[in-house]
């Protein structure tokens, strides 16, 4: 089996798993209890929060554990105290993950938020000048006093484009607004320092960086409203007994990936080049979507091909990739990101995403490329 869908999820790092095990079997005490048996989990919780904070240049007090990226995004958008009044603006982009887009839509529907969408260019990049112009327009207009939240993802999950987050955050700050970034695809894969980026909030998910599923975090320097009422966990904002094993696993996986980040990036970039080189040498007509890519995130659109067919055929060869277009037997539904970058239909329908990770090899990259070439040549010759 060749797993090349690391943007969807990653293999749990074995060292992270080993660190988790004691908290599943022996050290199962509730970290909120005052007796001796809870000391080890309590210490582990504190250390994990510190390790995670160190990895992203934050203070431990600014890290809130969540169930993952979607919860972090929902919390940042729906429960941010500075802007939780009924009258407010949310600025986001048209290529965000659905966890952001649907949270924003929900705020519009239930809390009367005014929503503005920044359009990406043909490479999936958000132009900082568009944000500046919009904020300027809002400042000049009647909505001057409305609190504004800007949410733009750090790396696009479908096409891998890395956004100019520092620039966007700086502009946002100048206008007194709050900047959130969904960094689920970035954290643990490219250097991510919240202070250098200048973001107020950042979402991350452990299973995207070789940690366990069902755990993530939200970095926030802003006030947060309660997400879950109950106990005192997460400063009383998100009640519920902590999943120490998962939190420890997340911290271990992130720490390891951050220590090896340059090495991993070089390795992944190398195998990405091997795969692309093999495809470019074939006679296939295709485009690579996006620009300024996250290493390993390869969105390809093949002329007059069927992305869903290609994904299923690769699956039969035990190669796991994603598609950017799915067929409902009558029409091919192209993803909102592929639509947003304005790819011609003849290419858009033939879109797949290959996302390589640190465990992939050059040999696997060549096997993926050869399998794609074989399938598309066979179908094209019929």
């Amino acid at each position: 089996m060749i797993y090349a869908d690391n943007a969807a999820t990653t293999k749990l790092d074995i060292d992270a798993f080993e660190e988790m095990k004691p908290y599943m079997i022996e050290e199962y005490g509730n970290a909120s209890q005052p007796y001796f048996f809870s000391k080890t989990p309590k210490t582990a919780l504190r250390q994990a929060r510190k390790d995670i904070a160190d990895c992203i240049g934050a203070d431990p007090d600014e890290i809130y554990f969540t169930s993952g990226g979607s919860e972090s995004d929902n919390w940042a958008i729906k429960r941010q105290t500075t802007i939780s009044s009924d009258i407010r603006c949310i600025i986001t982009s048209n290529i965000e993950h659905h966890a952001v887009l649907r949270s924003v839509e929900s705020e519009k529907k239930y809390n009367h938020a005014r929503v503005f969408y920044l359009s990406s260019n043909e490479n999936g990049l958000i132009n900082p000048e568009d944000l500046r112009n919009l904020l300027e327009h809002l400042r000049e207009g009647v909505s001057f006093r409305e609190p504004v939240l800007v949410s733009v993802m750090m790396v696009n999950n479908e096409i891998g484009t890395i956004q100019p987050i520092a620039e966007l955050a700086e502009i946002t700050k100048k206008y007194g607004a709050i900047f959130h970034t969904d960094a689920v695809q970035a954290v643990g894969h490219i250097p991510t320092d919240v202070k250098r980026l200048g973001v107020s909030m950042l979402s991350a998910s452990a299973h995207k960086f070789n940690g366990p599923k069902g755990i993530g975090f939200l970095y926030s320097v802003e006030g947060l409203d309660n997400l879950i009422d109950g106990g005192k966990q997460e400063k009383g904002h998100r009640a519920g007994t902590e999943n120490i094993a998962a939190i420890v696993g997340m911290a271990a996986a992130l720490k390891k990936n951050c220590i090896q980040i340059e090495k991993n990036m070089r390795h992944i970039k190398n195998i990405e080049n091997v795969l692309l080189d093999r495809l470019y040498r074939s006679s296939l007509d295709f485009k690579r979507n996006g620009t300024n890519h996250l290493p390993g995130n390869i969105s390809l659109s093949f002329l007059d091909a069927d992305g869903e067919m290609l994904m299923h055929r690769l699956d039969l060869k035990r190669i796991c990739v994603s598609t950017g277009a799915a067929c409902d037997s009558v029409n091919t539904q192209v993803s909102h990101v592929i639509k947003a970058i304005g790819l011609p239909d003849r290419y858009a329908k033939g879109t797949i995403r290959i996302s390589l990770g640190k465990n992939n090899t050059e040999e696997e990259a060549l096997m993926i490329a050869d399998a794609i070439i074989d399938i598309l040549k066979e179908v094209g010759s019929l």
Binding site: E308, D328, S329
Partner: protein, 64 residues
């Protein structure tokens, strides 16, 4: 529409025709039975039967 396997002449079911369309092209006019398709794709018949079930669960109208 051709209702016999282009390789072995076996009578084709609707599911098999749907599978050909889904895994090769919606535009093809000649189809293979599930055994010949498995040979073509170098996979097992079980693999293809699982695919049929998945497509049905997704509500793909080619399999209704």
């Amino acid at each position: 529409m051709e209702t016999l396997c282009k390789y072995c002449g076996k009578t084709l079911s609707k599911d098999w025709i749907g599978l050909n369309k889904k895994l090769i092209s919606k535009d093809i006019k000649k189809f293979a039975c599930i055994d010949c398709l498995a040979d073509d794709f170098d996979c097992t018949v079980d693999d293809l039967e699982i695919k049929i079930e998945e497509f049905k669960e997704e509500g793909c109208t080619l399999f209704l």
